[in-house]
């Protein structure tokens, strides 16, 4: 038995006598418009790989990493390349559009995508294990918090794709059902950074809160610009009209910068400030492995969870056969940094613990609310929403561009 070096991670692994080697794919846009989050996700996955390989466990993971650079058209060919090498398990994707781009490949070749990001739900592919939060684990707790704490006049600003559309649909129905108002929904292309007009419109509308589903560089610029505009008007923006998000994480707070980092509300199943032995060990290992890496985030933790669960399932199944691994993963329980995590057999989504955080000046989140136990995933909101769509006052919404 001799230590072997992982060519990607640089770590050495010691293999047990009976250890089985499996090659897994890692599919993350570590460059491009949402690279800050995707790079953190890659780091989370790599950390888990290193721990597993150093663990003398039954499983040794080799990795093949591909980077689509945030270009939607590159996801499918790169993914086909991975699956063409005989790889059956790929951890990756951040945006829903990229996930939907590659799912047909996984279904065609009966491989398994381990998707480690929060998303808008209304999907349950038999070839995807979802370790990020479903909508009942992020947006519904956020709306309950916002409506109780700040008021019921919402203004929505988002990147123009399914994440924003569907979250805003859920928000609109929830807010209207509780007697509130959606003042506007404004959408921008991914990567857009000119928000002058919409910021003017927001100050004019005076919402109780602004719900943002902007991602990547668009989000960071929007946070900076609205804070600067508020200061110029003498408005205490975090108090008067806080910005709320279901995707804002610690590495992104660092990107926003010190002038506009504090006072934002985020709904997530993981914040780096969670006080637990598992999280402390996780943060220490991450800091040691990536001393110059970005801050820990929910998506990085979800990637870590995905790889840990995958390795446990491979060990339990004794094979990388997809059906056997799927069956095995539903029997695993993981003491993750966020708390106990396990996979729901019916939907292949994870039981996770919803939390609300408020960003502080140190680019971290102070926990302001936390569920008492992991919440059952409800990707179709079957158990969380009424039978009928909430009647909408159509005249209040209009296409502006």
């Amino acid at each position: 038995m001799s230590p072997q070096r992982n060519p990607l991670t640089g770590f050495f692994s010691v293999r047990g006598n009976m250890a089985s080697n499996y090659t897994i794919g890692l599919l993350f846009s570590s460059t491009g418009p949402y690279s800050v989050v995707a790079h953190a996700m890659l780091n989370g996955a790599l950390l888990a790989v290193d721990e597993i390989n150093a663990d003398k466990s039954d499983v040794v993971l080799d990795t093949v990493f591909v980077n689509p650079n945030g270009e939607l058209g590159r996801y499918s060919p790169l993914c086909a390349e991975l699956l063409g090498q005989g790889i059956k398990h790929v951890v990756g994707c951040y945006t829903s559009s990229s996930r939907k781009e590659v799912i047909p490949l996984f279904e065609k070749q009966d491989a398994l995508l381990w998707y480690p990001s929060h998303y808008e739900g209304f999907e349950s592919s038999n070839n995807v294990v979802y370790t990020g939060a479903a909508p009942n684990q992020h947006i519904l707790p956020l709306l309950t918090y916002l409506l109780a704490r700040y008021g019921n006049r919402a203004y929505c600003v988002g990147s123009n794709y399914i994440w924003a559309w569907e979250n805003n649909r859920i928000l609109r129905e929830t807010v209207l059902e509780r007697g509130g108002t959606v003042l506007a929904e404004r959408y921008f292309p991914v990567g857009e950074t000119d928000f002058t007009q919409v910021i003017e419109a927001i100050f004019e509308a005076k919402p109780s809160f602004v719900f943002t589903t902007l991602i990547g560089t668009s989000a960071y610029q929007f946070f900076r610009d609205i804070r600067a505009a508020a200061k110029a008007r003498g408005i205490d923006q975090p108090r008067v009209m806080p910005l709320a998000s279901c995707s804002l994480s610690e590495p992104e707070l660092e990107e926003i910068g010190p002038e506009a980092v504090d006072g934002h509300i985020s709904s997530s199943v993981y914040f780096s400030t969670i006080q637990s032995r598992e999280n402390a060990a996780f943060l220490a290992a991450y800091a040691a492995r990536f001393p110059d890496g970005s801050a820990m985030s929910a998506d990085a933790e979800a990637s870590y969870i995905a790889v840990r669960l995958l390795a446990s399932a491979l060990a339990a199944a004794g094979t990388d056969d997809v059906a056997a691994v799927k069956e095995a993963v539903c029997r695993q329980r993981l003491r993750a940094p966020q708390g106990e995590v396990w996979i729901d057999q019916q939907t292949l989504h994870a039981y996770l613990t919803p939390r609300i955080g408020r960003s502080n000046c140190n680019a971290r989140f102070d926990l302001v609310q936390q569920a008492s136990e992991p919440a059952k995933p409800d990707p179709y909101l079957v158990w969380s929403t009424p039978r009928y769509e909430v009647a909408m006052q159509k005249q209040k919404l209009r296409v502006v561009r």
Binding site: S124, Y380, T385, E389
Partner: protein, 213 residues
């Protein structure tokens, strides 16, 4: 006309599946479970289901277009709707098979073998199309009923014009106002008014009100 509210959550619904081969529909059964829909029964012959037991707001039917036996459920008179929303399962994509499903009242289709990712869309479209057509059917039915009653309105207007020496606009306004007071449609009110007038023994309250006007 008010648009019926869209159904987007099918929790508590019960599905009947009528198929040639149960193996082709395993992903359908799995996905319906994820959507909170119970399987009420899997059959190979539609005659095994009593159409009178189907409730439009609770049941869904998934019907295989490749069945050998004919589908002879009663359809509604105007919109040709079956007793519950129906999704056609398409195997052989021939016009004769598709026509059989359309004639059975299918408002959405799923290709066999069923793919799990298409089930929510098919159910969403089938149920909401069904509800919209049912609403239109009720609307057409109501218009038909009122159209048939217009002759009572014309007769009642003429009767008032002759009896009171007023013009037809005034007579119409009187009848319309009184029908609203009685919380009846104008056609129903006029029919009753004519019956009372012809028998001369109508309720005193109605006669008094007309006289007062």
């Amino acid at each position: 006309m008010m648009q019926p509210r869209l159904v987007q959550n099918f929790r508590g619904g019960r599905a009947f599946i009528v198929v040639n081969e149960a193996t082709a529909i395993e992903p359908l059964v799995v996905t319906l479970g994820k959507l909170g829909v119970q399987i009420a029964g899997v059959h190979s012959d539609p005659r095994e289901i009593d159409p009178a037991s189907l409730q439009a707001d609770q049941h869904f039917v998934f019907l295989d277009g490749d069945l050998q036996c004919p589908i002879a459920w009663p359809l509604s008179s105007i919109a040709q709707l079956p007793p519950a929303p129906l999704v056609g399962l398409v195997g052989v994509e021939a016009p004769s098979r598709l026509r059989a499903l359309v004639q059975a009242g299918a408002t959405a289709f799923l290709r066999k073998p069923v793919h799990g990712a298409t089930v929510y869309s098919a159910l969403y479209i089938a149920v909401n199309q069904y509800r919209q057509r049912r609403e239109l059917e009720q609307c057409i039915d109501e218009h038909d009923r009122r159209r048939r009653g217009r002759r009572h309105v014309i007769k009642a207007v003429l009767s008032l014009v002759q009896a009171r020496g007023i013009d037809d606009e005034t007579a119409y306004d009187i009848l319309r106002r009184d029908s609203m007071r009685e919380r009846q449609s104008l056609e129903q009110y006029c029919e009753a008014f004519l019956q009372e007038t012809s028998s001369q023994t109508g309720p005193p309250a109605r006669r008094r009100r007309l006289n007062a006007d």
